[in-house]
């Protein structure tokens, strides 16, 4: 008899639930197999240790409290039954969630109908020289794609390129503009690449200079 076959029968041998014939076979194997014998001793120890250990105790008064609490729970479940209704679960709740998300998104400045990109104000009210100077002085370490600061400053300084109307349209439509012809960078991209803190620096400096 192979060892693993005897092993899984050992718990049954210990609890006395094997038939006579099988008991004889397993016992005969145990007499000739030290490894199974040691397994048998281990499991016998486990069984007697479990039986010896006291069970956890629960006060009788606890059981008297179950029934009223079952009724409370049933009542709560009845109150919440509408939640389990497939119509509520599959239609009303998802629809409600979608409406809430749309309303929240609508509140975001960029999605509001009255929203105006603050950088447009810069474009509107500052001269190209001013912007170029600020970019050069206040954002000295800024890297905008393949352009270096001198090129940015040069582009901004050149009135030909800084056509306010074009920049305004580009910002509004996120389309390309004449900037791309020279630097492969749209005004939007350039302004985006400034990053929030750099853009704020520009705005702050313009404000300080009274340009806004």
């Amino acid at each position: 008899m192979r060892t693993e076959h005897v092993s899984i029968l050992l718990p049954e041998l210990i609890r006395g639930s094997l038939g006579r014939e099988e008991t004889d076979r397993v016992e005969a194997h145990l007499r000739s197999c030290p490894s199974c014998r040691s397994e048998f001793d281990e499991l016998s120890y486990a069984t007697s240790a479990i039986d010896r250990r006291p069970l956890a105790e629960v006060p009788k008064s606890y059981f008297a409290s179950i029934l009223p609490r079952v009724h409370n729970r049933l009542e709560r479940q009845r109150d919440n039954r509408w939640m389990a209704d497939p119509l509520v679960n599959k239609v009303v709740l998802p629809l409600g969630a979608a409406i809430v998300v749309v309303l929240l998104v609508w509140q975001l400045p960029a999605f509001s109908p009255g929203y105006r990109n603050p950088l447009l104000a810069v474009v509107d009210s500052a001269s190209a020289d001013e912007i170029a100077e600020i970019v050069q002085n206040d954002v000295p370490n800024h890297e905008a794609g393949s352009m270096n600061n001198a090129l940015i400053a040069g582009m901004l300084a050149n009135e030909t390129f800084v056509d306010r109307q074009l920049v305004r349209e580009a910002l509004a439509n996120e389309s390309t503009s004449p900037f791309n012809v020279y630097a492969d960078v749209s005004p939007q991209e350039f302004l985006d690449n400034l990053g929030e803190s750099d853009a704020n620096n520009v705005l702050l400096s313009l404000e300080t200079k009274g340009s806004l």
């Binding site: 899984i8 120890y45 606890y62 179950i66």
Partner: protein, 185 residues
Amino acid sequence: MSDRSDDELVRLFCGGDEAAFNELVLRYQEKIYWVARRFTGNHDQADDITQEVFCRMYESLAEFRGASSLYTWLYRIAVNVSLNFIRRQKVRDFLRIDEIFDIEAEKSESPDSVVEYDEQQSLVEEAVAKLPEKQKAVFVMRYYEELPYEEIAKILKTSVGGLKANYFHALRKVGEYLRRAHRTR
């Protein structure tokens, strides 16, 4: 408690007699509690499971066809609810949801904990709690409930051979745990 049979109480309940339901709860609450307790090794969890089992009994007693005894039917519900509870608990432990929502704090204020006692998990409960899910299920059903393997196989939807191996490993692990604890405590 009356000496009316389970079948009679089920019939009465299905006819609208709520008192018959109460009688069935009182008849089986202790047994079901201990099934849940052996699965979870924890009083609060066993209490929760016990209530849930009877709520399910209330909801589906009308579907009970008497193919098995009422206790066997209830026992199966208790095993399934316990196993689901253990699985959910495992996920909760992994995500540590209890900490985020402070569920324990909420629990201690709920009316469900009206009966509290200084609960001490026994050493055997500790050992059983550490078993993998399937070994735990087989151990509880075989060792404590003495269910035949064929019955356990039906409940767990698995083969008898695999169950015997699971039971062997479970018993050995519990024995090892108790032996180690005996040495160190």
